[in-house]
């Protein structure tokens, strides 16, 4: 009995949660049109990750799932905060979710290699590279927004 399945399932849920949250923030801050469009693009990436994880999660769960520990999930973003400062804070929340996804990929990739699970290793390598790009965009966008939001916006 292993917890690799536990983490793959966590990752699956976290990617889903990240995708949903990106869309909530994108739609909520649609007046910032680049946020709207890029958030949707990044959400599509997470959707794709979820699709690639599904068969693996099924395989691992059937083979060797351990009982899942409590309080594994991080809640998705359900509503946005108004204003320029609110956008900044929402981007930070997305960053936290994406960081959970990325560190989960790190955890899973290591375990997958240990388990000689080539399929999962490849998926982990390819998807985590995209997660890194999601994080990069979030950091870039926060950096752009910060001075105006903190110093001038009302």
């Amino acid at each position: 009995m292993t917890h690799l399945a536990t983490y793959v399932r966590l990752l699956h849920r976290s990617e889903q949660s990240l995708a949903d949250s990106l869309r909530v923030v994108g739609v909520g801050h649609a007046a910032e049109v680049d946020v709207f469009h890029t958030a949707h693009l990044l959400a599509d990436w997470s959707d794709e990750h979820t699709r690639r994880l599904e068969p693996i999660a099924q395989r691992l769960t059937q083979a060797s799932a351990a009982e899942e520990p409590q309080r594994m999930n991080h809640p998705p973003i359900k509503e946005i905060r108004d204003s320029a400062v609110g956008l900044l804070r929402d981007l930070q929340d997305l960053y936290l979710l994406a960081a959970l996804v990325q560190t989960s990929w790190t955890v899973v990739e290591g375990a997958a290699e240990g388990a000689r699970d080539r399929e999962l290793t490849t998926v982990a390598q390819e998807c985590s590279a995209q997660t890194a790009r999601q994080l990069t965009w979030l950091r870039t966008r926060m950096k752009e927004a910060a001075p105006q939001a903190l110093l001038v916006a009302t």
């Binding site: 990044l42 752009e144 001075p147 001038v152 916006a153």
Partner: protein, 831 residues
């Protein structure tokens, strides 16, 4: 040398867009021909004197002389010794260069808004108002409350003065030009591939290429003189094969078919899929220079993965282009010795602009086709001085292609300007125009200064822009030649001197610097933009850290000397240039003190400015715009090698739907420039293209029951226009509208004819250039017209049916003259 012939007088350049052919063979010097236009009734002998300059009615940068009589500009002639145009001028330059200057509606006095109305006043009152608001906001909110939006039409000295004013004086990162709308992607594509802005190729590449690819570039209309250069090759021995990527059947597309090339008309918004397909074909067929790539580029394996899915069949499906045409285009690119590529708005203003334009660079890098005559890239500009806006940092970048993320570069500027390094905004990327207007919309920018541009007509989603400019949340200063649609919404309007009424330099697409001397006095109380910026700096008391006033230059030549110091050792080195030397003709940078003769093309040694210490940017993720960090860049270790960067195609932001089934794209006509500020006041040009129109394909028109000349209503989710229909040669499923037509020549602000009512607020993730080519729309017939539309019958807007041709331009003269020696021309040197 060509023998002199008698002048051909009475040449109608409205009817004859490119003038007479002077064919020449591959590798020979493009023969000279001198074009001239004087006001009706004037002869050469009537001209008092001629003043050296270069044309500003497109981005080509043709050297010219301004004719002056009785203190008025009365005409222009091409400069035969100029390496850019060899004496030629295009219809816009010939007819449009001077009439505006003596137009009765020139602004001659400042205006301020009083009780809702703009009223004339004196400079003291107007500038007093500007300074009062500026001071108050600086005190209350600090420098981030200030934004500046300029142009691709000012002079180098004016951009540099503004950059110093904004960065060293006020300390605001909110500065951009309308270059964001036209040329930002050119700059960014070069930065991403080569590490820095700086045009790799030269116009002389046209003289020796074996194939020329024009990507979204209707050169025949946007740069008529450059197209003459191409036509003269096509008509000569060993003509180049032309390949055209354009959804309209332009003269370039016709040339492609004539020369055994191919016309690819991708569905708007799918350029990247097409380019990925071309790159894949090169890789699949081994049409790459493996050795060169290994030595001079990075990223081949990643690129291979990205483009691998784009088979010709997949490209055909996405782009609506036959697979065999994709194969043929790739074959031409892959198997021809010397290929020249040019890129313009069909890529820059479309979806995935940066990634598609970078892909063009990739094609050249894959074959090692860069840095030698005939094998080059021209990432074009849309405006005559756009290059200077980018160089000087009026687009928000740091001057002389410095990197805002490199502390050493920022320190260099702080030392040069004698200000604290913290004064210069460098904590985040500079604010691009679309974001700047968003801050103005929200009111966090409360002071917006607009010079020499007309966003009320030229920016996407006009209704929104009018609201931003006309609202109470932001104080708007406009300086211009006329009371434009934008000026009408301003709080303060400042009358500016135009081309020929002031002295300064500017640099064209292939890096050629021209000096434009003052020919006449500006009207009334109008002042040069440089003087206006200096006046503001003085009134504001902007100083360096020792309390010495900033912008304390005595005239433009002193600014130029200061700028030269700023460029020392940078890719755009101007230190070898002087006003005196430039009076003899245009010189392309870099022109250092060691090599003051200038440089025809860059990267002849295949070393690119990608060292971490040297580069203008550390680069971006082409899909998201996420920034590469300094550490990441250092780890990549490019060190002089260029980047091959790929990105997958994704569908455009707005796709056709049952409600809005057609795709709407804006563009240009050969007879008008921008929002017609100058061309609309030139009778020959205005008569040739007097009114807006929309172009429909014949099948779409038939389906919708629309005939040539019918009044139609074009609607998008954002707005609607009512104009007349031209049934023409645009791609089926696509509607084309020229963006030039606002309402300054109408009785009241009219919103029913302005193309940008329909466009959407959306921009490229890396270049931040707004997208004007992919809005969904529907077209409804309103009523029959009283005849055909007045759209030009020449060039890309020609009708399907037979109509009386567009003509009636005033008389011009054109004469073949002996071809002089052009110092940097590789063909000239070979002989």
């Amino acid at each position: 040398m060509t023998r002199s012939e008698l002048p051909s007088a009475d040449l109608d350049r409205v009817a004859d867009l490119w003038g007479a052919r002077t064919p020449h063979s591959k590798g020979s010097v493009w023969p000279a021909r001198q074009d001239l236009r004087l006001e009706d009734g004037l002869q050469i002998d009537d001209v008092d004197h001629w003043v050296g300059s270069a044309c500003v009615l497109c981005s080509n940068g043709c050297g010219c002389d301004i004719a002056v009589k009785d203190g008025r500009m009365v005409g222009v002639r091409g400069r035969v010794d100029d390496p850019v145009n060899h004496g030629r001028l295009g219809p816009k330059g010939l007819y449009g260069s001077t009439p505006w200057a003596s137009s009765p509606d020139r602004l001659t006095r400042p205006m301020v808004r009083v009780a809702g109305r703009l009223v004339e006043t004196d400079w003291e009152t107007a500038m007093g108002r500007v300074v009062e608001v500026s001071r108050r906001l600086l005190e209350e909110k600090g420098p981030l409350s200030h934004g500046f939006y300029t142009s691709g039409q000012l002079f180098l000295e004016e951009y540099y003065a503004l950059a110093v004013l904004g960065k060293a004086g006020l300390g605001t990162p909110h500065m951009d030009g309308n270059t964001r709308l036209c040329t930002a992607t050119a700059a960014v594509a070069m930065k991403e591939s080569f590490g820095s802005d700086g045009q790799p190729g030269s116009y002389t590449d046209i003289d020796s290429c074996d194939a020329i690819f024009l990507y979204g570039h209707n050169m025949a209309e946007t740069q008529t003189v450059l197209w003459s250069r191409v036509l003269d090759r096509i008509e000569g021995e060993d003509p180049p094969i032309v390949v055209c990527v354009d959804p309209r059947r332009t003269p370039v597309a016709e040339a492609a078919e004539r020369t055994g090339g191919v016309h690819l008309a991708p569905y708007p918004g799918t350029n990247l899929a097409l380019l990925n397909g071309l790159q894949r074909e090169l890789l699949q067929n081994g049409w790459i220079d493996e050795e060169w790539v290994a030595a001079h580029a990075l990223g081949l394996e990643e690129l291979r993965k990205v483009v691998d899915p784009y088979t010709p069949e997949k490209v055909a499906q996405i782009c609506g282009v036959e697979a065999d045409r994709v194969r043929r285009a790739a074959e031409v690119f892959g198997t021809t010795r010397d290929v020249l590529s040019t890129v313009l708005q069909g890529f820059y203003q479309s979806h995935q602009a940066t990634a598609a334009s970078v892909a063009v660079n990739n094609l050249h890098l894959l074959r090692g086709m860069i840095g030698r005559p005939g094998a080059g890239v021209l990432q074009m500009n849309g405006q005559p001085t756009a290059q200077n806006n980018r160089e000087c940092g009026a687009d928000g970048d740091l001057p002389a292609f410095r990197n805002w993320g490199n502390p050493e570069h920022v320190q260099q500027l702080a030392t040069l300007w004698n200000v604290e390094v913290q004064q210069i905004p460098h904590w985040a990327p500079p604010t691009h125009a679309m974001q700047l207007f968003r801050y103005a919309e929200q009111g966090s920018i409360g002071f917006l200064w607009i010079s020499a541009t007309n966003p009320a007509v030229s920016m996407p989603e006009s209704a929104r822009i009018r609201k931003v400019l006309g609202g109470e949340q932001c104080f708007v200063v406009v300086q211009d030649l006329f009371l434009t649609e934008t000026a009408q919404l301003a709080d303060v309007v400042l009358p500016a001197a135009g081309w020929g009424e002031k002295t300064g330099t500017f640099t064209n697409v292939n890096r050629t610097v021209h000096l434009s001397d003052q020919a006449v006095a500006p009207p009334g109380e109008a002042r040069s933009d440089l003087e206006i910026f200096q006046l503001y700096a003085r009134e504001m008391g902007l100083t360096d850290k020792d309390g010495e006033p900033l912008l304390q230059w005595d005239g433009p030549e002193e600014v130029f000397e200061a700028w030269k110091e700023c460029t020392r050792g940078r890719p755009c080195d101007y230190t070898g240039l002087t006003y005196q030397r430039l009076r003899e003709g245009g010189i392309p940078w870099p022109a250092s003190e060691q090599h003051p003769e200038g440089t025809d093309r860059l990267y002849t040694d295949h070393v690119f400015p990608t060292h971490t210490e040297q580069c203008e940017t550390y680069g971006h993720d082409l899909a998201t715009g996420g920034g590469v960090t300094e550490q990441e860049h250092r780890a990549i270790g490019a060190n002089g090698r260029a980047f091959l960067k790929g990105s997958p195609y994704v569908p455009a932001h707005e796709r056709p739907s049952p409600e809005f089934p057609l795709l709407y794209s804006t563009g240009r006509t050969v007879y008008q420039f921008h929002t017609r500020t100058k061309t609309g006041r030139a009778r020959s040009l205005q008569q040739a293209a007097p009114d807006p129109w929309v172009e429909l394909s014949a099948p779409d028109a038939e389906r919708l029951g629309i005939s040539e000349g019918d009044v139609v209503r074009v609607e998008s989710p954002r707005g609607a226009i009512e104009v007349r229909a031209r049934v023409g040669f645009v791609r089926e499923g696509t509607v084309f509208a020229p963006f030039h037509y606002g309402s300054w020549d109408r009785d009241a602000l009219s919103t029913t004819r302005q193309a940008n009512e329909l466009t959407m607020t959306v921009w490229d993730p890396v270049s931040k250039q707004p997208c004007f080519k992919t809005a969904a729309c529907r077209v409804i017939r309103v009523r029959a017209g009283d005849g055909p539309s007045t759209a030009p019958t020449t060039a890309a807007s020609r009708p399907v049916g037979a109509l009386s041709p567009t003509r009636g331009g005033a008389a011009t003269t054109s004469v073949t003259v002996p071809t002089p020696t052009y110092r940097l021309d590789p063909a000239g040197r070979a002989r």
